[in-house]
Symmetry: C2
Amino acid sequence: MAKEGADMTEETEHMIEKNLGKEAENMESSSVDAKEMRAVILAGFGGLNKLRVTKKTMPEPQEGEVKIRVKACGLNFLDLMVRQGTIDSPPKPPVVPGFECSGIVESVGENTKGFEIGDRVMAFVNYNAWAEVVCTPVDFVYKMPDEMTFPEAAAFSLNFVAAYMMLFEVANLREGMSVLVHSAGGGVGQAVAQLCSTVPNVTVFGIASCFKHVAIRDSVTHLFDRNIDYVQEVKKISPEGVDIVLDCLCGENTGKGLGLLKPLGTYILYGASNMVTGETKSFFSFAKSWWQVEKVNPIKLYEENKVIAGFSLLNLLFKQGRCSLVKAVMEKLLSLYNQKKIKPVVDSLWALEEVKEAMQRIHDRGNIGKLILDVEKSPTPLMASDSTETSEAGEEEEEPEGDNDNKERMPFIH
Amino acid sequence: MAKEGADMTEETEHMIEKNLGKEAENMESSSVDAKEMRAVILAGFGGLNKLRVTKKTMPEPQEGEVKIRVKACGLNFLDLMVRQGTIDSPPKPPVVPGFECSGIVESVGENTKGFEIGDRVMAFVNYNAWAEVVCTPVDFVYKMPDEMTFPEAAAFSLNFVAAYMMLFEVANLREGMSVLVHSAGGGVGQAVAQLCSTVPNVTVFGIASCFKHVAIRDSVTHLFDRNIDYVQEVKKISPEGVDIVLDCLCGENTGKGLGLLKPLGTYILYGASNMVTGETKSFFSFAKSWWQVEKVNPIKLYEENKVIAGFSLLNLLFKQGRCSLVKAVMEKLLSLYNQKKIKPVVDSLWALEEVKEAMQRIHDRGNIGKLILDVEKSPTPLMASDSTETSEAGEEEEEPEGDNDNKERMPFIH
C-alpha cells in the first residue's frame, strides 16, 4: 500500500542486506527469542543515516503501565526534529523514536486498571513507539472503536487531539469563524479541516503544495499554493483577515500569521518544521533558528487585540501532566468518530525497515494525511528498475535532505 | 460623597477663584447660552495642570448619532495615559477627554433608530465624554436598566465589558479555573471578581494595596499586598500556577505573569499603568517603557503551552469596529445585572472642576472601584483646615504625581 514504491528501494535494499549479513537474527526476533523485539533505533542526532532497525530487549510493564503488542505507529514531522536533535531537551541517543501507536494489550502492570489482555488500544508513548512492543502508563492508553483499523488508530491520536485542543481549547472556534492552516494536506491539517466542518459556517483557508490540491480540495474552503503570497490571497477574499491561524512552520510565518489576524484573533504555533533545514549540523541550525524567530511585543498585542499561543501536545502530556484533560478530549473525538463526522486520513503504510523512506516523504511534504509504520509489513521488494543507482555502503555522506531535486538516498549505515 | 475631601481642596479653590475671576461665565454656561456647555479640556500632554474646565460649543448629533445630556462620566486609568500622551496615536490637543458616560437622550440625528428623547442611556464615546453634552454613534449607546443609577451606569460599561471579554472571549474561563488580577480594588478588578463569582469554583488571586484589603477581602479568594513577591505567594497556594493572569501594569509583570501560568493558561495585558511614571516628559517616558517591555519568543510559548494576549476595548470599539460584538456582550452583562449577579462598585463622585483631584486619586491607586465625574455636582467647598498650604498661582511647577508622600497639589493654571 505504500505509495511511491519505486522511490524507496535502494536504502531498503542495503538495510536488508546488512541486516541479513551482520545481524540477521534481528529481522525475526520473535521466533529467535521471545524476550527480544525489533525496534527502530536513532543512534545519534543527524540525518537519515542515524536510523536503523535493530533487536532490543522487550520491555515489561511497570506498575501502572500497559504492555502493547504494536501493530501500527504514527510518524510525525516532530520525529524528524527529534532525529536532528532540534527539539527542546532531546533525549540522549541511542533512543527508539515514536510517540504514538496502536496495538493489542499483551499484559498490564500491577495496579493497572481499565484494560485487559486482548484489548485493541491506541496510545501515546514518551519515545519508544517504533517497536514491536511498548509499555506506557495507563493514562496514555485509549480503547479503539471496533470499526477503527490499527493504521487509522495510529493516525488518530496525536493529530486529532492536537487539532481539537488548538481549535476548541486554545482558540475558541465558533460558528461563522475563519481558520488558516498551513500544511493543510498533512495529518494535523486534515484533522483541522474535518473538525472545522463540525462547526457551522466555518471558512478554512488551507495552504498546501500544488500537487496535493486535487486530493484535498474538498476538505477546505479555499486552497492556496505554498509558494505564493498567501497573505495577499487571503486578504483578497477576507480583507479583515481570519480568526485563527494554525502554524507549524514558524519563522517568517509568525509575523505573517499575526498580521492576518482579525481583532481578537488567535495565532497558534504548534511546530517549527522550517527549522528542519537539512543541515547535519543540526544543533547549530536549531540555535540559529531559535534566535531568528521574531519576538512579539505584548503592547502591540494590546493595541491590536491579538492573541498568540504555542501548543505542544507532547509537552502537555509528558512534561506537564495534562493526561486527564487529553483523555476528556479523546472521549469527545471518539464520539465524533463514532458519529462518522471525522476519520483519520492515512497517507501510506511503511515497514519499520522503510522508516527512512517514510521520513524523506514527510520531509519533502509529499504526504496527504498520515504516514504509518506498519510493524507487520515487510519492506517493499526491489524491482529491476530500482537498481540503477549505486552508493558505497559504509560511506558517511552529507545528509541529502532538502528541497532540492536530488532525491538520491543514502545507503543504510550501521 | 467624594472621599478624602480634605485632600482635594487647594486645587479646587484656585480653580474656582480663577474661574470666577477670569472666565466666570464658564461656570454657569447653561444659563448664559443654550448653545454652550461646560467641558473638561486637556490643553496639551503632561501633568494635571494641562486640565481645566471651560465652555465649549455644544455638539449637535450627526446622522446615526445620539445626543446625550450627560449625568455622569467614568474616569479610567487610561485617561491619565491620554493626559500624558502615553497612548498609541493620541489625539491632537486641545481635546475633551473621557470615553464613557451615562445620561438622558436629548435628541437623535437623522436615520438614528432605537432611541427616543428622554431615554436613560449609557454610552461609549471616542473622547469628549467629560462634558455636559456629548454626541456618539448609536452603535455605542445602550439603554440603562430602570434600577441602575447614572453613576452606576457610568461605572458599568467599560469595566464590565472589558472584564467579561477578557475572561470569556479572550480566555475561556470555566468551572474550577483560577484567575490572578492586578489592581483588584480598581474598577476592572472589581468587575473581574464579580464575574468570576458567576462561574462555579473559580479561585481569584487579587493583588491590591494593603489599605484596601478590608474593603475588598470578600470579593476575591486570596488577597496579596502589591508590595510583596506575589509570584511566591501564589505558588505557595497553587504550585502549578494559575489559568488566567489579567495584567494592567505591564513591565516586569509580563514575565512574572507568564511564569505563573499553568499549561494552556492565558496571560492578558489590558493596560500599562506602570508607564505613567510621573515624569512630565511623558513622550520620552512612554517610548522608553515601550522598548523596555520584555518581548515574547513564540517558541517558548510552544514549549510551555502558553497563551499571551492583549486587550484594548477602546481600540476594539473605535479602531476595529467591533461594536456589534460589544453589544452582544453588553446584553449578557445587563442580564447578569438584572439578576443581581453583578453590580458596579462606585468609589467616589467628583465635580468636573475636581477632575485633577480625581486623577490624583486614581494615580495614587487610592480608589476602590470606579471614580465618577458627576456633571451636576458642585465642587466640595473649602474647609478652614485646608488653607494651611500656599502655592503661587501661575507658577509652572513640575508635576507632583508619583508614589512619593508629597501630596501637594498644583494651583490651577489656565
